[in-house]
Each structure stands twice: as C-alpha cells, then as structure tokens.
C-alpha cells in the first residue's frame, strides 16, 4: 500500500539519512508498493558527506578485489550510466591517469594494473612518460610513468542525491527533513523512531545515516562499527583553469588513502584534494591553513600552472571511515534492520549499487516487494558544462524570457533557473540550497554581483510561503526538476 496521505505515520520502511546513499535506497524502494519514509536530520538532502567530496565517478579499479566496495562499485557503474543519461545528471567520462612520481610508485603500477583487471577494469593500461605529457601537456615535470583508467569520470554531487530524492518523493515516499532520530524504541513488531518533530513507526529500518550511522546502529541494539570521521579539504579553481587538465590526475594510491588528486569538475572548474585527516569531531567541516597549504604544495607538483589561477571555493567534508576497510552493509532479519554504513569515500559512485544490494537484502529477509502500479521518472535541470544550459538555449529563452536573464554571471545562472529551484518538488530553502541546485554564487566572484539579487529572491519566496518551509511534501509536479 502506498502512503495514503501526509498524516500517515506508520510505514513499511524508514530510511534514516537522505545523503546520496539514503536517497538512492529511497528511490529504489519507491519502485515497489511500499509505504516508505526518509528521515533526514538536516533541512535538505545531500548536505553531509555527499556534498563535500571529490565528485569522482569511480570504477573501483583500485578497490580490494572481492570486497563489497569493489562489487557494488561495479554493479553501480552501468546503473548510473543509464540513469544519469535519462534523468539529466551531469556525468563526464574523462578517464583518469594514475601518475607515478618516483621509482617506488612506478614499481607499484603493475600490481595496480593487475588489481584493476581483477576488478573487471580490463581497459586499464600502462602509459609511457611521453604519452602522459602528450595527454596532459601542463603536467608538472618529473612524472615517470602511469596507468590510464578510461572508465573513471566526474559527476555532479548535488544533482545526484536530488534526483534520487525527487524521484522517490514523486512516487509517494515521504521525506521528513529536520528530523534527526533521537532514539529508537519498539512497539509490537514496529520500530518507533523518535524525532524532535514527532515519532514515526516503521516495520523495517534502513540505516543510511552516514557519519552518524554507528550511533543509529547502537540505538537499534547493534554494535557493528565506530565511525572515525576522516576530513578531506578541497580547493576548487576558477573555470579559467579548466584548459590545464583534461582527465583526472591520480597519485598512486597507498593502502591508507587514495591521495591528493587534480580533476576537472562537471561545472568546468578544477578541483584539488582531498586531505585525509582522522578526527574525532563529527562537525569539524572547517578548512585549515595547514590543510590548504599542504594541498597547494601537492598541486604545484602535479599541475604547477593551476596555482596561478584564482580559487573559487575551499571546503571540507568528512568521510564516514570506520575501523573496517570495507563498507558495513548487513541485514538483521530478526530485527528487521539493514545497516548501510561505513561508506568511506566512494558512496556517490556506488550509491545505485548499494541501493540495489540493500533492496536485495530486504527481499531476502522477507520484505514483500510488489512492483508499484505506476512509476514516475524525473528530469533534472541541466547545470553541467556538457549539457545545454538555458542561457545558451534560444528555444528555452523564447519560451520563457526568464531563462535569458542571467543573474549569476560567473556561473551563468538565469532568473528562470533560480525561480524553478525555489519552486521545485524539493525546493531550495536557503542560499546554500540554491547554490547546490543552480550553482548561483559559486563562481569566481562569490556573489559580488549576484548575492544581493539572490537574497532578495529568497526573501520574496520565504515571504510568499509565510516563512521558510520546513517539511518535505509529496510529489507535486512543478518546474525545475520535472516529473514525467
């Protein structure tokens, strides 16, 4: 049975967490005849680990063969390929080059290539120094050789969870924002999830709580792992730097870390990072002088000219690392509980594989999965460089002049796109929400020209709503993300 109305408080499945993993699971569940709710602590989807990462689309070529991570990355790859094209998620398969800078790293390339083959990435192949510099003429001096990984790419970390969540909501999933789970109790055969905005009952609980997944794990009477947040600081360079690099430039990974990479972004910037700092504080998303200096020193080796360009953003994210190397995904059928935690750094790429696997686990454990009678797909607004943006689309402008009025000049975001994002099924409720949905204000001027206009639009929208909206609403097909 689908949820009968907004007041429904009893569900078949409660997914805790609306990061990319939780949103992907919710979307997967929305294909079935189930009452599903998503509880998210923040006031928007994808605001935790999901929003602050390297936005790489990993093939899993370097994952531990046979691990859940390797398996699910491989499972996700074609799923995402297909989904991104249908829904309009910016993805570019740029390929990656693993660059060896010393003899020790060079010596490890063969083993890495062998591992890639084991992981099903048969197209990974060695490249000579000459080939490296031919492919990347701005690469710093001193590279000794490398591996090409043709399947690696870049993707939009903002559109992806929004697309999943929008599709879920369009198909009857209830999204409760600003609803951190404070405790879990049991009533008959139901879990009672207590949030500051009320209690929600659900027969099954799926833990996709990211950085807080271990806390929720304990609340449900389990003790599977402990999250040790690993901070990654990143620097984003101006679009004028994009000419300097065509593929992702990876270091030779160590068992501890994938290291600091240089990569284009789907928005046409260049990204440098991340650092890897093990922390105790799960809210320590600040950048530091030391972290940024360290990144700049490493970036100078890989792509010296990059450092001459202006920086348009610095940010930090926390990966949900645990004492285990692999993902922590498991089902406790007796407790009607699935945990999907410890998704350390490849969650964006693996999310669709993780979702499919979690639904498999639920089915195996006895959750009845009957396909829903109807299913709506969504179409997301084009915000990637590889897409036709409204400002460059005479037909869009002819149909609606607001698509010809550029408000954010650096990112070329039009009034029409901002208006749509404020009125979308999952609307932007803050300047940050607008930035993630449209890119407005994320360019080189950081709002020198547009932030006042955007603040005025937000204030107008809040006034129209009678204050900032707090709850998620069921699938109301409007503009922005279109539901078909």
């Amino acid at each position: 049975m689908k949820a009968s109305g907004a007041k429904e408080r009893s569900y078949d499945v409660a997914v805790v967490g609306a990061g990319v993993v939780g949103a992907a699971i919710a979307r997967e569940l929305s294909r079935f005849d189930l009452r599903t709710v998503v509880l998210e602590a923040a006031d928007d989807v994808g605001t935790g680990t999901t929003k602050a990462n390297t936005a790489i689309r990993h093939t899993g070529f370097d994952a531990k063969p046979g691990s859940l991570e390797a398996t699910l990355l491989r499972r996700a790859y074609p799923l995402l390929e297909d989904y991104a094209a249908r829904v309009g998620i910016p993805v570019e398969t740029t390929g990656a080059l693993v660059v060896a800078w010393d003899a020790e790293q060079l010596g490890r390339l063969d083993a890495l290539a062998a591992r890639a083959k084991e992981n099903g990435c048969g197209d990974v192949h060695p490249v000579t120094v000459d080939e490296l510099y031919a492919a990347e003429p701005h690469l710093g001096p001193g590279a000794l050789g490398g591996l090409a990984v043709p399947g690696e790419g870049i993707m939009c970390p903002f559109t992806t969870p929004l697309a999943f969540a929008t599709e879920a909501v369009a198909n009857g999933v209830r999204l409760e924002l600003s609803s951190p789970v404070e405790s879990v109790e049991h009533l008959g055969d139901e879990h009672v999830l207590v949030t500051p905005r009320g209690a929600i009952r659900a027969r099954w609980v799926v833990n996709a709580a990211g950085l807080h997944s271990d806390t929720l794990d304990r609340m449900t009477g389990h003790d599977g792992f402990t999250v040790r947040p690993r901070r990654g600081q990143l620097i984003v360079f101006d679009k004028l730097a994009r000419r300097l690099v065509s593929s992702i430039l990876l270091p030779v990974p160590t068992p501890v870390s994938k290291g600091v990479l240089v990569a284009p972004t789907v928005f046409g910037n260049v990204l440098l990072g991340p650092t890897a700092e093990d922390l105790d504080d799960r809210s320590a998303t600040e950048t530091t002088h030391e972290g940024l200096s360290d990144l700049r020193a490493k970036g100078r080796v890989v792509l010296p000219e990059l450092l001459e360009e202006e920086v348009t953003a610095t940010y930090a994210g926390l990966r949900a690392a645990t004492e285990h190397a692999d993902y922590q995904i498991a089902c406790d059928p007796a407790a009607r509980y699935v945990r999907a935690g410890g998704i350390r750094s490849t969650g964006l790429s693996a999310s669709m594989g993780i979702a499919a696997y979690v639904v498999d686990l639920l089915a195996d454990a006895g959750l009845e999965l009957a396909p829903a009678a109807t299913h709506h797909e969504v179409h997301m607004p084009p915000i990637g460089e590889s897409q036709l943006r409204p400002f460059r689309d005479p037909r869009a402008i002819a149909g609606d002049p607001a698509y010809g009025e550029i408000v954010c000049h650096c990112e070329r975001v039009t009034r029409g796109e901002l208006r749509d994002a404020l009125a979308a099924p999952l609307p932007a409720r803050s300047a940050e929400g607008l930035r993630r949905r449209t890119r407005a204000g994320l360019g080189r001027c950081q709002g020198f020209y547009c932030s006042a206009t955007i603040a005025a639009m937000l204030a107008g929208t809040a006034a129209d709503r009678g204050g900032p909206e707090r709850t998620g609403s069921g699938g109301v097909p409007v503009t922005g993300a279109r539901i078909r």
Partner: protein, 433 residues
Amino acid sequence: MTDDASPGPGSQPGPSPAEVRRVDVLVVGGGPSGLAAAVELRRAGASVAVVEREAALGGIPRHTAHTGYGLRDLHRVLSGPTYAARYASLAERAGVDLCVSTSAVEWSGEGDVVTTSPTGMARWAARAVLLATGCRERPRTARLVPGDRPEGVLTTGSLQQRTELFGLPVGERAVVVGAEHVSFSAVHTLRRHGVSVAAVVTDLPRSQTYAALRAATAARVPLHTASEVAAIRGKGRVRAVEVRHRPTGARETIPCDTVVFTGDWVPDHELARRRPLAFAGPHPRVDQALRTSRRGVFACGNLVHAAEPADVCALGGRHAARSVLGYLETGAWPEDGVDLLAAAPLAWVHPARLTSTSERPARGRLLTRVRQFTGAGTLTLVQAGRVLHAEGRRGLVPNRSIPLAAGALETVELDAGPVELVWRGAGPAKMAP
C-alpha cells in the same frame, strides 16, 4: 597567462542565433568607462551599442551611496547612484543602443559577439569592440581564508547592493577586512544601516586611506594592522573571526555575524582570457591608446587598471573613444612597440605598452600601484639604462592610485627594448604616524 580555446561556461553550444546586428562599435560593459566611451563615439557619428549584463546601467556607482563622484569628468560632485543615472541618461540622449540584462556569452576575439538576454540570443558584428567589463573585489575563497563556510561573508559590492538596491538587512556586528578607500566605504555603509563595526583588519602596517576619510567613517573602530583573518567560525551564520597578528602570531577572536572582504581588486577579464589577448600582470595589455593585442579590440576602465575612481574610468572611456574613432577612420593598427614594465615593489603600470611616442595616454598620465608602504624615493622611467624621467615622492601607499606624468614617453625609442618603471628608495621607511 595563455588563452583558452573553449567558448566558456555552459560550453555545450546551442543553436546559433540567426539575426546579426551590425554596429560600428560594440561596448561590453555599461559602467562609467563604457558609457562615457559610447557617448563620445555616438556624438562623433559612430553607431554604438552597449551590452550591460546587469538590469541597470551605471556599474558600481549604482550602489555606492556616498558622494564624491563626477569631479574630474563632469565637474560637479554627485552621489554614486546620481552619477550612474547621469551617464545612463547621457548615453540615452546621445542615441546609443543600450541593451541591459544582456550578457556577452561568446566572443570570436574579433568583432563577432554572441549575447543572451531575456529577449533572446543575438549575434553582433562590430567593426570595433571595446571591453569595459570593470573589476570586482577578491572574495574570501580566493584569499584562501580558512575556517567554516557560514552565511554572512560579503564583499563591499554585495553589501552595498543589499543595502542600496534591495533594502535587505545585513547583520548586527561586522568585521571589515582591508583598510583601503573602499574598506571605509563599507564601514560607512554598515554603520549607516545600524551594523556596528567591531574591527577593521589589514595585513599592512597601517591604513591606506586618507586620515580624514577614516576619521569620518570609522571613528572609534579598532584598526588591527599587520593582521590577517586566520579563520572564520560559525555553522550556518558567522559567529566570530579569528584575527592573527602577523609579527607576534597572537590570535584574537572577535565575535561578529558579518565579515566584509573589501578591495584587493581583480579585473573582470574572462572575455579577454577566453580569447588570446596578451596580458600584463592581471590586466589585458593595452597601449597608450587603449588598444589590446588584437586588431580592432580596445579595453578601458578598471578592466585595465583595477581599481581607479569612476571619473578616471570615464575619462579613460573618452580616451578610448577617440582611439576607436581613429581606427574606424584609418584602419591603422600599430603592431610594433615596447612594453612598459613595473619593477617590484611596484605591482603594475598602466598603460603596459607604448606603440607611438606622439600619442599620449589618458589624462597624460601613467598609473601605477605599489605592493607595500615605502619611504621617500623616486619613480624613475628607464629604457636600456637611460633614465627618461624621475619624479620624487615622499612615500608610496599601497592600494592607492599613483599617477605619474607621461610626457617623458615622447623620448622613448620604440626599437630599444622595454621601458621599466622603477622605484628607487631614499633612506629608511617613514614610520607609521
């Protein structure tokens, strides 16, 4: 810096607009320099269009409410908005084709420009292009200021647009980063709108503005010199800044809900960077007649000297107009010339090239900037070891306009290699007052 062959953001090319609009001159940017140039060009009989990406003409002065505009070009003293409106009306009356909310989204590097506006996309074919895209303040991110990423981090530009154009609230207690003229304009705006200013922070050893301006705007506001913002703190909204005194390393946490990063101007040079224009430091390289490295392409205003006051920009626009008219008439485009280089501690010199010894730069002056405070000394123009000109100064102040008589450029030899502008100090640096 090198060119970029990609067309720019949103690079997936859409269908090309069919309509071609032909003009003698297309001016990109409707601030003081672009409008002043357009008026001059139109009065001389050229057909001129101005494309301005904002919804209103006038550029930065639109939202600077203080007075002091118009002295050198209009011979009166006006507020920023009045000054902006005056130029818009002059351009309208002159018969300039004025296109607001119109962005140049593609440029061939010559006379071919594609624009986007609410009325659609258009392709322009111009005999000459004048870039007058201005400048902006360097934001927090580009200054690599670490810490959290809360709301409440502004520039003077975004602050003054909020207060002057939209009447939006700002905050209650602000820290202003920078101590140049514009920084005190920000202080003035904040206090006028009921925001207390907890501190002005500059990494330089003292304020760079006039004592009178500082006294008038920032009386009793603590000035933290030789200090930097070491971190911004706050989730959601700014809670405090950590200020670090560079010589001692001492840190102080200043509670505030707003941080305004001021000055440290960056020319808005995207169009020039996307096409192969030669650069001199941060600016597209222009000669004394404001010609760029590309035939038929001129540049003026704060795109080529970030940042000078609006009236200096407007006079530069008029100067560019005269050069453009000469080009339209004769088609002459000098290729040979010598570069003008600024030696440290000077940051840049404008113009950065000399292609004729008979043409004078705008206002008959060179403009330069210095990176640090200096004691007394001499600004010296040197070519191949030969001193062309020397002007004594009691000391140079960073972030302040430093003009220099350009008469000596007549004696430059156009085949004798670059001309250098050199600062020669005399004795120890003047102490802080």
